[in-house]
Symmetry: C2
Subunit: 222 residues, 2 copies
DNA sequence: TTGACTATCGTACAGCGTACGAGCATAGTA
DNA sequence: TACTATGCTCGTACGCTGTACGATAGTCAA
């Protein structure tokens, strides 16, 4: 049967609905707050019902990660390669900032899902068409992905979200931990950072454009 | 009393011994295999004894991360800035490859430990002394750390360790998942990668040197 | 009517982090 | 010597986790 269940937002379970709700829960409560029982509860179902759609929690996490990859824009065709790669990298950062738990999950999950593969194919295609030799495209791929993931990881571990919070935290929490004679340079940096404000999106672009510019001459011309 | 306990390798507990053994366990069994009970067992102690040295598991994980940072070489003084940064980045990659669980833990732990702070101070000092203006040094720091962490993250999620395993896995696992008409570029890359071999250490150096070279002209000369 | 198949879930179990408090050895004090 | 304080260890118990197993009920074909 496919009619009313007693839960609130209901229209029958499905793997998709389970995974989407799991992502919503992880976004709200963090990945540690995601348990099969809580997830089932949010879906108005019994805990064990989930196992009809998902073999175990590992598979659920894999599926969640792949949905995250689906959210990332593919590099658009029809522009120069740098614009295309910038576009997809910026999108990736945004998506990973929206789902901070995803980055921490990647270490433990080793087999890429279909969306992940499609993404990699599109990126590699873009680089190859731009004139990068095969192995150079691989290098570029590693380099760009490292930057994107690493940036997302650092951003996820920042304890603040806005420039204001940064200023407050710096004054109240960081500086007291940093005796100026032991950490003169960190004090200097903190002060400069508060004065200048700090937008992760801009910070991201700085490194990204630097990498893209440095990669450009490595194409086999065209 | 400070004499014999019934456990095997014993000479009294201490926070240091607890943390070190926790790292050993996480290295061997993965961070999921690290439970307070198992850790206590490995130390020949009762589970609750650990809580005399550690407020809770979170604090234990924080301490483990900080020990990992202690293992990373500081940028040596007395060489040019690029050599110094290369040295510490290579060391960081090695250490994170040795403790793959660490990278996945960083997302959730927001307050840096003392070894982490000392490390950041040393890196910032190196950049400032090399002539980078304050904000440029911050940019360089973000960029380099992003690359290091992101590379470590990708490396940790590789399901193989050696070039041989790569070749085997490619043939047996990856290529069957990659129909050539849907993934022509990934097939091409996989083939080239198997033919060329693939050493993560070399791969790492490629991107690292590219970044260092691109950063060099951003110093306020000297 | 029968049986297979799809979907849901209750119960139970082993293992988790840890609150609470009891227990013991030693050091200091009277 | 007796008493107390302190440092350290740990047994028990509670509420949580993932999930194995089996029961249940609705649907459809024969």
């Amino acid at each position: 049967m496919r009619k009313q269940r007693q839960g609130a937002s209901d229209a029958g379970l499905s793997k998709q609905r389970v995974v989407i709700e799991a992502i919503r829960l992880a976004d709200c409560e963090g990945v540690d707050g995601l348990s099969m029982r809580r997830l089932a509860g949010a879906l108005g179902a019994g805990a064990m019902s989930l196992y009809y759609y998902v073999a175990n929690k590992e598979e659920l996490l894999d599926a969640m990660i792949d949905v995250v990859f689906e959210e990332i824009e593919l590099p658009p065709e029809g522009t120069d390669w740098q614009s295309a790669m910038r576009r997809r990298a910026v999108s990736a950062r945004q998506v990973l900032a929206r789902h901070p738990w995803a980055i921490g999950l990647m270490e433990s999950r080793t087999s890429p899902g279909p969306a992940n593969l499609r993404h990699r194919e599109a990126v590699t295609a873009c680089l190859r068409r731009a004139g990068f030799p095969v192995l150079m495209a691989t290098h570029a791929n590693w380099l760009l992905d490292s930057y994107v993931y690493g940036f997302a990881l650092q951003e996820a571990s920042l304890p603040f979200d806005t420039a204001d919070e940064l200023a407050n935290m710096t004054e109240d929490v960081f500086l007291p931990q940093l005796p100026p004679d032991e950490f003169p340079y960190l004090n200097e940096s903190a002060a400069a950072l508060v004065a200048a404000g700090c937008d992760p999106a801009e910070e991201f672009i700085f490194g990204l454009d630097l990498i893209l510019a440095a990669l450009d001459p490595l194409r086999a011309s065209a």
